[in-house]
Symmetry: C2
Subunit: 318 residues, 2 copies
């Protein structure tokens, strides 16, 4: 089911991209990377947009309004981070059901404001409308970079590395669904990874020698396939090297889940996946390497055996 839905989304994106045709020469990187890269004056403008729908991306049963505001902005900042960019400006559109009151909206904006201040981002405009449907938050984010780090550029022999731990967001979501808000106290790291993700802006800026970069919002397996496809390479991921935290393992044990599945396919870990050579920047861990295209995307199991890794990332069509 999940795979079918992912295919459906990619099919739609392909159809739309084909329909829009070739963009003008002002567009340095168009649809298909974490953000667009656009000529503006002498500079390079990064632009991205991301929509969060109640009941699809968040659930008011265990998400606070300030957390929803934080995350709606964080996912955009993560896209700018994945280009090695500095976020600058955000525009916020809200579709508000009647039941959403002023206090809720104030909290939502408090969450956005606190995060925007941390990353020196100005919220410069927006749009409010009523809706007969669920709450919708759509944020467009603009950033700047001298040298964008794209999905393409990885070469066989490069290391494959990731920031932070994997699977925390999926584990946090599972815990929140199982235990409600008490999960925030019981499993603070994972609940926080799901509710209040930190976009890796600083890390994205730091990894100047990265040959390719992507954020793993849709899950490691799915994003690894994107990176491999864009770069025209294969990837090998070593199961033993996957950084999975203690709390994530603890939640998995209690809920009789496999933490490896969360780490590989869980999604919403707003970490950066990147390739490069030489010294690894601090705060990142090697999880594998770049191999020739024909070898595909592989997972080397604990046993030493290598298997093809299929893209099963979380997506909003599932």
């Amino acid at each position: 089911m999940r795979n079918r839905k992912i295919l459906e989304e990619f099919k739609l994106i392909r159809m739309i991209t084909a329909q829009l045709g070739i963009p003008s020469r002002r567009v340095l990187t168009g649809i298909g990377d974490d953000t667009a890269v656009l000529k503006f004056g002498a500079g390079k403008l990064l632009a991205t947009i991301d929509m969060q729908v109640e009941g699809i991306h968040f659930d008011l049963n265990y998400c606070l309004p300030a957390e929803i505001g934080h995350k709606a902005l964080a996912v955009n900042l993560s896209d700018i981070a994945a280009m090695g960019g500095s976020p600058r400006y955000a525009l916020v559109s809200l579709a508000l059901p009647e039941r959403i009151d002023e206090t809720f909206i104030k909290s939502l904006y408090r969450g956005m404001k606190l995060l925007s201040r941390r990353f020196d981002v100005d919220i410069v405009g927006g749009n409010l409308t009523r809706t007969p449907g669920p709450l919708v938050i759509d944020i467009a984010c603009l950033g700047e970079t001298k040298k964008p780090r794209l999905r393409k550029g990885a070469r066989p022999g490069d290391f494959l590395a990731v920031t932070g731990n994997l699977g925390n967001s999926a584990a946090g979501l599972a815990a929140l669904r199982e235990f409600g808000r008490s999960a925030v106290r019981r499993f603070p790291t994972c609940a926080r990874a799901h509710l209040l993700p930190t976009p890796r802006v600083k890390e994205g800026l730091r990894f100047k020698s990265a040959t390719s970069m992507i954020d793993i919002s849709d899950g490691l397996s799915s994003e690894a396939h994107h990176l491999a496809e864009h770069s025209g390479v294969g990837l090998i991921i070593d199961e033993r090297l996957l950084p999975i935290g203690k709390e994530c393992r603890e939640i998995a044990r209690r809920m009789k889940c496999d933490p490896l599945v969360w780490a590989l396919h869980g999604g919403e870990d707003y970490e950066l996946l990147f390739t490069g050579r030489g010294a690894l920047p601090s705060g990142a861990k090697v999880i594998g390497g770049v191999i020739p295209r024909n070898d595909g995307v592989q997972l080397q199991r604990m046993s030493g055996e290598s298997v093809a890794l299929s893209p099963k990332g979380w997506n909003h069509f599932s």
Copy 2:
């Protein structure tokens, strides 16, 4: 009711603006004008976002998908036009209910693409998500200008002028509601004004000596108040000078409505309202003048009598 809802929206915007606090010095014009004006390199970047919700902004009973796509982009281009800017880039977010199929999405994008080509705009990215609610289209648009034309700047003694005819969109909407799609054939000018508005980008660029400018998406009376407030002036509008077309009058006669109400309060006429001195640019008509602040916003009736004009524009909170 309408007034209450407008007040509610403005109250929310004021609350949000106050909460966000003072933006950084990169923000030349923040929340409150047609678009934000942002420093980017040596240039001035215009940024705006506008959300269209099924059942609030459009009705699938009489709007075709390509028209919805066209209009969702047009309302954004109109905001850029109102700043005297050139639109450059657009980002498109879609929340798609299950019932919306590929053919629909293709048509929606065809409408956007045709308009984007006319105005040399690149659609550079977007976001697709499922929704359990109505179809939502949110578009962010980026533009460029050397000298933005703001809502502030009007001075007593300036003329007040408008592009195009007024009330056509409201008349077209009334006709579409009454006669369904046959209205498109019977009243092509007004139906088109409602379904396929032309953003006044060329006109906005042409009126270089305008002292202030705004688009009248929310209706003349409402937008006149915005312009007066931002400029710290009063305005007088002469009822006899309001450009109301033959077809609009014809629809009003048939439906026993007052075309003046549509012209003043109807909204969704994506025309430009502006002030200035000297020669009037072609394609515009004087409808009144700028007066001192204390005189407020007035309507001079056919009888010669002047009355206070209250802001009753259409808004998406009604």
